[in-house]
Symmetry: C2
Subunit: 615 residues, 2 copies
């Protein structure tokens, strides 16, 4: 498009942004208007994208990191001819594809859900990494960021990662409109401030008037030919641009314009421009889904193996069978054992350094390109990325998260390193799967199982060695459990998982010697739970005792109760969990101090079968 | 101390680091050795600190952000004469004050728990802000950081905040030993790389050989006299410094030295230096605890008020009564209504921009100085700071977190803005309190109540207006609940909180017309729960129905079950919660779609009283 057409397109995008927000009675027209010219030039002259084939391997990728500017995005879709005016005006209504903040659950052209700020660039880094190292395709990744969101540390994790990896296929377009939600940003229109920061992290920068379409066009061209570095196009813009009552004014964030009709008139009325977006180049997809059978590692019952070790070896084996598997780790691969994958598949291993937000975001980005990511760190440190996990779920992203060093069982390192909230955190994520194996063969089987699930899959592993309980051919369906002890005379059921399984077995032995028969269930699938088996155990034995290396809230105990919250009779229940703040101690001392070892289980079990209350 | 003594002190700190890790059989001696000279010079010549009075208002503050180097910290305490050699060798043992990673729960000289990397500097920013703007004292805040942890985005949130606030009382000492846990860091010994980054964020930087004690001494002096900017002392060091087999070698992270006795001998044997740490200057504490009665805002029953509005006004009132209350917000104060506090107490309001990690860390830092922080943003965005909340709990920190815009009830903005995991996340934090008011007077009372609690206090507020149900003099003890409907013929109990309380009342009305009497409980205190009242309701009515604007895991339903997990008989129970991924829609459409509105409650309630299973 020439200058005149670009100006007209920017105008039309503003008009449609104003109209859609007016129709909805809410939304962010002023934030859309500042970026309209930036979007117009990108759509018309730079983006290569086949809207008919959003999965085209050569498509450029666009992320609206400032997701609240969704009216602009939908207006661009209208200009591209894939959303009509009628649909545009359904913005934010029940059932509309045009949500308040864009999500790929609804629209095929959206890479990732945004709306939690500072996430678009890290996800873009993940896609750009995939482009360089996995797809080896020429596509570019364009990320439109607001200036307010640059306060998020995740943006600088992304900046560091992109600079260090020389991601010249990544272009951040910064819409510096100087106004945040409740007032001016830290740096206002000081474009140099942003340039200094991005340059310090190894980026090329171009400063531009974001309403001069020719200058923007040149800036994008410069970004496209820059080699060896990502580029930040830093654009001076005005919020509410083009409408005198709104332009560069405070107090108008996140509201339809007061006089929308007047604004549309002032902007020149509705437009009818249609953009012919450039086709992507013919591109071969390197992404192959392996068909080979996974040759999982095998251990003999009785061996001592840590589940983290089993995880590492199983992931490496999965990677051999399936070429789409990639692994990411937060600079602790020697501890999490992700390094086993790194050794066998270095080309599909991504060192994310100690930047868990970027790690999870990169996984989300790679998943958009069809790769199957496993992002791995200590369970405790996945808390750092919870907002990214939450948003991955909003995206409907399919990623695997693996948290090692779960619970007090890690021993002497102390509470900062102990995952004690991870089950609660991961269970609360919509559509998640939560798995917590207790032995090596089980771990390996579950690693293989996660590959074919949807949504967020979380696997919890343990630091210390434990006895292999199951044979290598035993199967562990997701949503199942294993009844390890059972008789017709069971007077209670102990439900354990991970490190508490051997404790439960030892307690059952001790109680058996006292004449109290105990059923023992290994609830390796914490979400979904095997409701049928739990209900059967409740009917058979009358009471349940859950024991977990986790805080009492949101973990195994609550998962068991999930089977009984539909109105059916509920068994009497005792929940053993970590109720104190642990210190440093040996693993067995920790389990004892927390009251989740065999002795504690036996004590509580005796009270429970006597129908006493357990203090 | 002169050069010779400083060298000797550094040597002694290394020796004691090696010895304590050897005694423990675990720990991080090599990470301690790289920073030993940096610590020696700081302790001997720069820190002003009265170990007898850790709460001295003039004390400098020291944070070991690289918390795994705890052997160095404890060795420094020994050199300062506050830990003896016998205690030093209890490192990492059960019951020892010397945990694997330092925590203020155990030792009075520690400001904040570290061990999750990248948190020390943000907390240091909070203390430095307190020093400048609240305490108005001359103390300095010294933060010793590792180079690996500079990959965390939270460090750059802190860098941005400190630069922008001109925190010249903050000094970051970067121990650039070039080796992370599993290998080289991104930038190795390229000190310029770090200097460029910190300078871009407005810091003064000094590069130095971290093993040249005179150079370090000069660098600290330069930092101390630098005005208007924080300083980063960027020190080139060697991991394992001083022991040939360990120095600058990979693969030795987090392990005692193989030949500890040999290493001690090579380092020159045990030392006996005692450091006389400089006294802090006489300082008057500005920190005053208000004694005035809080004059809370009052609303009339029947008024329509959003709980976020009530929160804002109540916090402002609390701030008037109590001078130690401070508020922080993540650039959404107009939405969360924290701006009501800002207007009345601008000197105690801290704009944290969109940097939730820094916001929570600043709250933790201010709390160390005796201030009473309220950190406020959307409930959804507190997930961004979960690791900081977790670590605040490890610290035993007393902070208030307020999350607005909870649940699907926000309406059209869509799932990215909806707090649907926040109750699970906050309940799982050790020692936390979780409150969820349903009306304005209740909100105000709970805001006042949080001021006198310990630990992490979380208050959940709602976006939309709701009818005031309670009179302004009604009391709402933490750990209590309100029985809103009750009769001798109740056949079930509905437990609701927040936006589902009016829905529950409407459902009870509908069921009453059908001859089904329903007890209704407003469970505003989600943690701790009022176990006695819930148990009484269970006994009286036989079954419970919980209804919450939150995902089913870890929220209100699980909180209610907390009252029944000690082996006592459990009532039949149905849990209504948000089980789908919401889109954009009006608030009432959202509640209906999620199955948590009055109609849904009535449908499920009918099934429950008929002893049917609720699908």
């Amino acid at each position: 498009m020439n200058t005149e057409e670009l100006v007209e397109l920017g105008r039309q995008l503003r008009v449609d942004s104003v109209r859609s927000a007016a129709a909805a009675g809410s939304g962010h027209p002023t934030s859309s208007m500042s970026a309209a010219d930036l979007m117009a030039v990108l759509l018309a002259n730079h983006l290569h994208y086949d809207f008919e084939r959003p999965d085209h391997p050569g498509n450029d990728r666009f992320i609206l990191s400032k997701g609240h500017a969704s009216p602009l995005l939908y207006s661009a879709y209208k200009a591209a001819g894939v959303v009509d005016d009628e649909e545009l005006l359904t913005f934010r209504r029940l059932g509309s594809r045009l949500e308040g903040h864009p999500t790929p659950r609804r629209l095929p052209w959206i890479e990732t859900a945004t709306g939690s700020l500072g996430q678009g660039l890290p996800v873009g880094v993940g896609i750009a990494l995939a482009g360089k190292r996995l797809d080896r395709a020429a596509y570019r990744v364009w990320v439109l960021c607001g200036d307010s969101e640059l306060a998020e540390g995740s943006v600088w994790e992304a900046a560091e990662h992109a600079g260090h990896e020389h991601l010249d296929n990544l272009i951040a377009v910064l819409d510096v409109n100087r106004l945040g939600q409740r007032g001016p940003t830290r740096h206002g229109h000081d474009l140099d401030a942003w340039a200094r920061r991005f340059e310090a992290f190894g980026w090329h920068t171009v400063q531009v008037d974001g309403h001069d379409v020719d200058a923007v066009d040149r800036a994008y061209r410069e970004a496209a030919v820059t080699r060896g570095r990502p580029t930040a196009v830093i654009a001076r813009t005005l919020k509410g641009r083009g409408v005198a009552d709104a332009e560069d004014r405070e107090g108008l964030h996140g509201k339809p314009l007061q006089d929308s009709d007047g604004a549309v008139a002032e902007l020149g009325g509705a437009g009818t421009l249609r953009v012919r977006v450039q086709e992507p180049p013919p591109t071969r997809s390197l992404h192959t889904v392996g068909t080979g059978q996974v040759e999982l590692p095998r251990w003999k019952p009785g061996e001592q193996v840590a589940t983290r070790d089993a995880f590492g070896r199983a992931l490496a084996a999965l990677g051999t069978a399936r070429g789409e598997v990639v692994a990411l780790d937060g600079e602790v691969g020697d501890s999490t054992r992700a390094e086993a994958f790194a050794k066998e598949h270095p080309e599909r291993y991504f060192e994310c350094y100690i930047a868990e937000q970027q790690m999870v975001a990169a996984a989300v980005g790679m998943a958009t390109r069809g790769w199957l990511p496993y992002a791995v760190t200590f369970a405790a440190f996945l808390t750092r990325a919870y907002d990214f996990v939450r948003m991955a779920s909003v995206s409907g992203s399919g990623i695997n998260l693996v948290g090692s060093h779960a619970g007090v069982a890690i021993g002497r390192d102390g509470p900062s390193q102990m995952g004690l909230e991870d089950l609660a955190m991961m269970r609360a994520v919509h559509g998640s799967t939560v798995l917590y194996p207790c032995d090596a063969n089980q771990t390996a089987q579950l690693v293989a199982a996660t590959a074919d699930l949807d949504g967020i899959r979380y696997l919890r592993t343990s630091r210390g060695g434990s006895e292999v309980l199951y044979g290598p051919d035993e199967e562990f369906p997701v949503g199942g459990c294993k009844v390890l002890r059972s008789s017709g005379r069971d007077r209670m059921t102990v439900v354990a998982a991970g490190v508490t399984v051997p404790e439960a077995l030892a307690a059952a032995d001790a109680l058996d010697q006292e004449g109290i028969q105990v059923r023992v269930i290994d609830l390796y699938s914490v979400k979904p739970v095997d409701a049928a088996t739990l209900r059967g155990a409740a009917e058979d034995t009358g009471c349940l005792l859950t024991v977990e290396d986790h805080h009492p809230e949101g973990g195994l105990g609550d998962a068991v109760l999930d089977a009984f919250t539909d109105g059916r009779p509920v068994p009497r229940l005792v929940r053993l969990a970590v109720r104190t703040m642990p210190g440093s101690a040996a693993p067995d001392e920790q389990l004892h101090a927390a009251g989740i070892d065999a002795e504690s289980i036996a004590v509580a079990g005796r009270l429970l079968v006597e129908e006493a209350v357990v203090p």
